[in-house]
């Protein structure tokens, strides 16, 4: 048995990115960004005595006259049209409550899901009674943000065959600001797994399924072969290490890390060790920069 000491690894210079003017300016709460009142205040800032002050620690982005500060970690804010992954927390009348890594639980109504057996079907009383049969507490769903209500809560919808209940796989939570903005959220990676990069920071890794049974409300309990399970475990650890080293998570970066970990013949379980995590992360950054 090998014994390892749990200590902080020293910071590596190779990980440090662009220097000088390319680097966005950093601010922390209470710091004054500008005295100019003509700027609009975006997320992470507030106005006080005609000065714009930061309220979170992060880097400044300036789009025309709008100044926003993006923190490293935050809860999901929500934007209409985002594909997200969530977990059912409550079954209520006509609707489910879904935990989406946001400050309030989101709401998924019965009328907003595609019921089994035809697109044009209207929901009936039987459907309402059998809601728990479709989705019960603890189930994972892949849904779309349809609307943001007045109090800031999200309304979800799953009105197409690509959304719905997620069957066997593994869920991983990362900061939403680490997920690369992309139109396509579900990717069938060449290594034989399907990854859903939820915009809310929940990433779901599952075996690839044929298109026609991609989304139903029944779970497929067929046993997944060992090599597929290993691939899923490796991908999960890759995403974990990228998040730990705050590298943006996209299909490219995940695949790069995955290939590197195979190339360097790391065991899947070893990929949770801090030194291996750092090695793979450094190699990934270098490969992505080339």
């Amino acid at each position: 048995m090998d014994i390892e000491l749990a200590c902080e690894l020293p910071r590596v210079r190779a990980m440090v990115g662009p220097e000088g003017p390319q680097r966005p300016p950093l601010v922390t709460p209470g710091e004054i960004i500008t005295h100019d009142t003509s700027f609009m205040r975006g997320h992470g800032t507030y106005m006080e005595n005609n000065t714009q002050v930061a309220s979170v620690a992060g880097y400044i982005t300036r789009v025309n006259r709008l100044i926003t500060v993006t923190p490293l970690r935050q809860v999901y804010q929500g934007a209409i049209g985002d594909t997200i992954v969530g977990r059912i927390t409550k079954v209520q009348n006509n609707r489910w409550k879904v935990d989406v890594n946001s400050r309030l639980d989101a709401e998924l109504r019965l009328v907003n899901i595609q019921l089994p057996g035809g697109e044009q079907r209207r929901s009936s009383l039987e459907d309402e009674r059998g809601m728990r049969g479709l989705l019960r507490e603890g189930d994972l769903v892949c849904v779309e943000v349809q609307k943001i209500s007045n109090d800031g809560g999200l309304r979800l919808a799953a009105r197409s065959s690509k959304f719905g209940k997620l069957s066997q796989g593994t869920l991983l939570g990362v900061s939403p600001s680490l997920i690369v903005q992309d139109k396509q959220r579900m990717h069938d990676l060449p290594c034989g797994a399907r990854v859903v990069f939820g915009a809310n920071g929940y990433v779901y890794v599952s075996p690839t399924v044929p298109e026609e049974q991609a989304s139903t409300y029944t779970v497929n309990f067929e046993e997944v072969p060992v090599d597929v399970r290993k691939t899923i475990g490796r991908l999960r650890n890759c995403i974990k290490l990228l998040a730990h080293h705050t590298i943006m998570i996209s299909p490219t970066s995940v695949m790069t890390a995955y290939d590197i970990s195979i190339e360097q013949e790391f065991e899947i379980r070893d990929m949770l060790k801090p030194d291996v995590m750092q090695d793979v992360a450094i190699a990934t950054v270098q490969a992505m920069n080339e």
Binding site: G17, P24, G44, R73
Partner: protein, 240 residues
């Protein structure tokens, strides 16, 4: 035993206006939204922040702003005497006080209907427990990306005979009083002020001024830590 030696030094070799060494770290755990650790001399505190998230009990929900809850606990061997109950009346009172401090600093209107939970655990106590808890919670909240008006920094001061002493240890605090001041350093406004014993009116001003100056020093320390943390992490974030 003398608290201040004839040469004007304290027992650990500090001058009366000198802070103890502060060490801190952001981001220890994955599971909470934010976490931090701070060491002010021998006082060591862990803090974790969960939320903003859906409120747990509906009758507490406030639809205009968020609910802030704080729970403080001490491990059994944190002080000189073994702690029998981790959550006694005193820690509960301190928890309420810490929650009150952050009512003034968190932009509550940004999170209507939500709840923010702060959990602090005292690993070792040697004077200034409340201020270490406030400082650790501030760092954890910053790490969680919760919107704050400003940092909250906190520091204690005490008095020994005629001299005001900054950042008193357990032994120095026992001899006199312990005045804890929490401050929004960029605004210069005091959000909480607490004294463990009575202070003479003539001496109060001097103790307050010293504690306020100490808060500004603590701010410099925390600020440089947060900045170092951001520089460490953000460099890589910009890679797409």
């Amino acid at each position: 035993m003398e608290i201040i030696s004839p040469e004007g030094l304290r027992q650990d070799g500090r001058t009366p206006t000198c802070l103890r060494i502060i060490k801190c770290r952001l981001g220890l755990y994955d599971r909470p939204n934010g976490s931090a650790y701070i060491e002010m001399g021998n006082t060591k505190v862990l803090a974790a922040v969960y939320g903003p998230r859906e409120v747990r009990s509906k009758n507490k929900q406030n639809l205009d702003e968020c609910v802030i809850q704080c729970e403080m606990s001490r491990i059994a061997a944190c002080g000189g005497e073994r702690v029998r109950r981790a959550r006694d009346k005193r820690t509960r009172a301190l928890s309420h006080q810490i929650a009150g401090v952050f009512h003034a600093a968190i932009r509550k209107s940004k999170y209507p209907g939500s709840q923010i939970d702060i959990y602090v655990q005292v690993l070792q106590e040697d004077g200034g427990v409340m201020s270490a808890c406030v400082n650790a919670s501030t760092l954890a909240l910053i790490h969680a990306g919760v919107e704050l008006l400003d940092y909250v920094t906190s520091c204690t001061a005490s008095i020994n005979k005629q001299t005001a002493i900054l950042d008193a240890t357990n032994m120095e605090g026992q001899a006199g009083c312990e005045v804890t001041v929490s401050l929004l350093p960029n605004k210069g406004s005091i959000v909480s002020l607490d004294s463990s014993h009575t202070v003479h009116r003539d001496q109060f001003e001097a103790v307050m001024d010293l504690a306020t100056a100490g808060c500004q020093q603590v701010y410099q320390e925390l600020f440089s830590q947060v900045e170092a943390y951001l520089q460490d992490k953000h460099a890589i974030m910009s890679h797409r």
